[in-house]
């Protein structure tokens, strides 16, 4: 159960981190150019912006293109624009951030650089929530680390107590083995192996349960949060994550057995 919870947290964390990274790629700044700037000057401005630190790409969007995009976005409501006498939309430079600057701090630095660039009238970005989201993921990571540690400790204690009971139940056998000259390693080896196998089996079971839960609830959950997730699909743990869960279970089982034996054989 504890391994299942550990795996669930790992899965949630992996998806949220992946989500943040995907959204990070979509974090854009929009630098509205000064009114009256000719398209050639606008493209030159875009080239200057592209060379700024923290900018991955910069694309000039002229007034006409901006209107056309807006028309497409309106879809069936595009007829609303037929009454317009002139194009109210400004030309802009769309700025995509470099990976190194896809954070609240990076965003702020690029924004400041843009604002100081000649020809830029105003800087805006439509993803104010991303900074808050990044903070939330950091908080989640910290909480996962703490909870993960607590769950791992709980799993360790459970295994230790289980093996300790096993050692106690077989104390007569252990006594006889030691009387005929068995080394501690000879006595301990079956218990260590038992802990390792039980832990690995627990990890595998947890993985199976996690996969079943993901298959059952992953789709509906994604649908419920589609307004946030958009086209981003949730993904299960990769091969490394799966192996880590099973190996982690085996490791916890082994450690728990060793701890129980340290006390049991000394007694």
């Amino acid at each position: 159960m504890t391994l299942f919870l550990l795996g669930a947290f790992a899965l949630l964390l992996a998806n949220m981190s992946g989500l943040l990274e995907r959204f990070g790629r979509e974090v854009r700044l929009t630098a509205y150019v000064a009114d009256g700037l000719a398209p050639e000057a606008g493209r030159a401005l875009a080239e200057r912006v592209a060379r700024l630190e923290g900018v991955e790409r910069a694309v000039f969007v002229g007034k006409d293109e901006a209107l056309e995009r807006f028309r497409r976005r309106l879809g069936g409501e595009a007829s609303l624009l037929e009454g317009l006498e002139e194009n109210p939309l400004p030309a802009s430079v769309e700025v995509e951030l470099a990976p190194s600057h896809r954070s609240e701090d990076g965003l702020a630095r690029v924004r400041a650089a843009l604002a100081a660039t000649d020809g830029v009238a105003e800087v805006a970005h439509g993803h104010a929530w991303v900074a808050g989201y990044a903070r939330a993921v950091s908080l989640l990571r910290a909480a996962a680390a703490v909870l993960g540690g607590v769950l791992a400790l709980a799993a360790l204690l459970i295994v230790t107590n289980t093996i300790r009971l096993g050692v106690y139940a077989r104390r007569d056998e252990i006594e006889i083995l030691m009387l005929v000259g068995a080394t501690r390693t000879f006595v301990a080896a079956p218990f260590l192996l038992e802990g390792l196998v039980q832990g690995a089996a627990g990890g595998a079971l947890a993985l199976g349960a996690l996969w079943a839960a993901f298959a059952l609830f992953g789709g509906p959950l994604h649908g419920a949060f589609a307004f946030v997730l958009g086209s981003v699909e949730p993904s299960f743990l990769g091969a490394g994550g799966c192996a880590a869960l099973v190996a982690g279970g085996a490791g916890l089982g082994f450690l728990g057995s060793a701890a129980a034996l340290l006390q049991g054989l000394r007694a």
Partner: protein
């Protein structure tokens, strides 16, 4: 009554040597007090005394289940007090032990119970089966080797315990009240097996209340009284 044979300068072939050994479990009370003795190769000795005299404590000191509070113990040339925990198993493999309550593994067959003494020393399975059969034949239980201990009589269980104690051909055999739970006929049967081990060169120490055994089999009697060695007698005709 003969004097003590505790002179450290003697006993060239002594496998068990105790020099002024004392053992205390609680401050102010002594389970053993200033005991010195030697057991030589192939010797059969009986350790007698009333309950609480220290017989079991002495046995435990010899197979390193306890360490002396005072004095020195040399077992097969090894100083028990200076033995590190990792060295104890190797010593015990050269000592066979038989208890009053048999101490057999109930969930293993007779064959497996005896084989465990060979497993711990890494004897290959096929070879172990042969040696187990041979020792069970010696104690007359080869036909019961696939049975479980609880289906055996008390005498049969003790014979299995003796077989386990002897299968590794130990240099020392310790028997702590081996016939305590058995009737007279079975007692003689068991003692014949134990005496037979001594005849083949194993040094044997038997702790017992039963003085009739000492009279019948004993060549040497060590009597403990309140933790002290009160007497060390050899039967007539037995060389010191």
């Amino acid at each position: 009554m003969s004097g003590l044979a505790g002179d450290p300068a003697r006993g060239g072939d002594a496998l068990v040597r105790l020099f002024h050994v004392s053992k205390s479990y609680l401050a102010g009370t002594w389970a053993l007090r200033d005991v010195s003795l030697e057991l030589r190769k192939g010797e059969l000795a009986f350790l007698t005394g009333s309950s609480g005299a220290g017989k079991t404590t002495l046995m435990k000191l010899i197979f390193a289940a306890e360490r002396p509070s005072e004095g020195q113990i040399l077992i097969l040339g090894r100083n028990v007090d200076r033995l590190r925990p990792a060295g104890i198993p190797a010593l015990r493999r050269r000592i066979g032990v038989v208890f009053q309550d048999f101490k057999l593994l109930p969930r293993r067959t007779v064959e497996e119970n005896v084989a465990v003494a060979l497993d711990v020393v890494g004897v290959p399975h096929r070879q172990a089966r042969g040696r187990v059969f041979s020792i069970l034949k010696r104690v007359g239980l080869q036909h019961r080797r696939f049975h479980y201990p609880l289906s055996l009589s008390g005498g049969e269980q003790q014979r299995v315990a003796i077989a386990r104690a002897l299968v590794n051909e130990p240099e020392i055999l310790l028997a702590d009240e081996p016939t305590g739970n058995l009737d007279a006929a079975l007692t003689l049967e068991i003692m014949d097996l134990i005496a037979g081990a001594a005849a083949r060169g194993t040094t044997v120490l038997v702790a017992t209340h039963d003085l009739s055994l000492v009279e019948r089999f004993g060549r040497r009697m060590l009597r403990l009284d309140a933790g002290r060695l009160a007497a060390d007698q050899r039967a007539a005709g037995v060389a010191p």
